[in-house]
């Protein structure tokens, strides 16, 4: 069960939701009446018993679903779509990892060049992964003099038409150059509100993959995409969720 705790940062104390093989879902007050959404999170990932180990068989998914019962955390999700790392939300092999990086000055982080945009419709999975993209997230450790840090991940989802159309996806992540920095709430809101291209946060460009991966989705048949989800599949290394924001672009 997710738990709530708090942590001190240079900018002050912030509460977080700790996810361990669990998810956070929230039905939007605007329901499915959107044509473009950006979903952004501030987060950090726990290490494995404070070791310099990669996280094996992980699954991080962020996106939209048809109600809270269609999260990719369930065995056979009915209808949902989103972004996942390092693979589609399937049973990843132990050789599939979020790679541990020592960083500098103790500021360790996890990274992966693996990703997938995915959809489940009536329990069937379809994926796409055109282009290169690297997700980078800070660890929660403060050993070795590390700064208490938050990272950022944003998923950009566009509908070609209301109810029946194509979903086109993009994604943005903090980069390795951010791993000595703490990403704040104002950074998140600024990134969600950018007009075009890849945002630059605290002087460092984010890793970006512009809208371009497309999957067809029929909301009339498969249910309204009215709920956002965040799923973290490891039950040993928790994901600390500091902030989640949804920006209706159109």
């Amino acid at each position: 069960m997710p738990i709530i705790a708090s942590r001190n940062f240079a900018t002050g104390t912030q509460q977080y939701l700790s996810l361990s093989s669990s998810d956070y879902l929230r039905t939007l007050t605007i329901g499915q009446s959107w044509l473009r959404l950006r979903i952004g999170i501030l987060y950090a990932l726990g290490t494995v018993a404070e070791n310099a180990w990669s996280i094996r068989s992980p699954s991080l998914c962020l996106g939209v679903s048809s109600g809270p019962s269609s999260s990719p955390s369930v065995q056979s999700p009915s209808h949902c779509a989103g972004f996942s790392v390092p693979t589609a939300p399937v049973n990843a092999a132990p050789t599939t990892v979020l790679t541990y990086n020592a960083g500098s000055a103790g500021n360790s982080y996890f990274s992966t060049a693996g990703y997938a945009f995915f959809k489940y419709t009536a329990g069937s999975l379809a994926t796409g992964a055109v282009g290169s993209f690297t997700t980078v997230a800070p660890t929660t450790t403060t050993l070795g003099g590390a700064l208490a840090r938050r990272g950022m991940l944003i998923v950009d989802i566009n509908k070609s038409a209301a109810l029946i159309g194509n979903l086109t996806f993009g994604a943005y992540s903090t980069a390795a150059g951010h791993m000595g920095l703490d990403i704040t709430s104002s950074d998140l809101y600024w990134a969600l509100d950018w007009a075009s291209a890849t945002p630059t946060i605290q002087g460092v460009a984010m890793n970006g993959l512009a809208l371009g991966n497309t999957l067809a989705f029929n909301e009339t048949v498969n249910g309204l995409l009215d709920t956002i989800f965040l799923f973290w599949g490891s039950y040993v290394s928790p994901l600390q969720l500091y902030e989640i924001a949804v920006y209706k672009v159109g």
């Binding site: 093989s21 494995v48 018993a49 094996r56 049973n91 990843a92």
Partner: protein
Amino acid sequence: MPVIGQRNYILPPTTDTFVSLANEEFTRKLDLTGFGNSWSKIKIGISCAIADTGGGNIANTQFFVGLSSGTAFPFGSISCVHAVGWMFGSAAATWTYNAGAGNPYYSAATFRYLRRVGVTETNGTVGSVTISVPTTAGSLQRRGFIEVMLAQAATTVAFNAYSEAAATAASDVSFEQFMYSTSQGIGGSGTPYVLEVQCVGGAAQSLTPGAGWNTNVLDTLDIYWSNPTYSLEIYAIATQFTS
């Protein structure tokens, strides 16, 4: 009768309790709510150690990890209703004492995967896996790691078995590290890593009992250790299902 004891470790939980089996069997009915008999894979991980002999091998010892149909007549019963699982060692196998570098462990290369009804057993011995389990002695108190995966289908049952490598048997696998290893390859895909060293164990092996083979539902965790003198200490058990 199995007894409960405790040992002290450096890594948390620094005081860990265990169930001791000596020619005894541990069974526990699983909560299969939502699965019934329609599970496709069950993975069983065990954190364990074996009582130290002071340097000698352990002879003629069986270590069964699997599932049975109910708790009344499990694998070890002459009236076994139905049991399926992996047998490390055998009634004629030697568990070799390895001194290590001050942290000894037992190893056994003999195994079979099996299905038992009553005293009738069908089994196979294809593949290879050498189990390594730390002893309860040594300069470092240690807990080991093994894992068995079962996959059932209409006419077949498939098996995987993994043990931590001999190289990591000199180290303690703490509870968090044990859970980390059991979390890998959720659904039973791939060979897990223990302390970042890949386990030993091979490709899936299978038996084909035929249609209706699982009418007696496999709903109970079943662990059997046959040696009455040198006990098996079980610190943690973790199971995972996929439908």
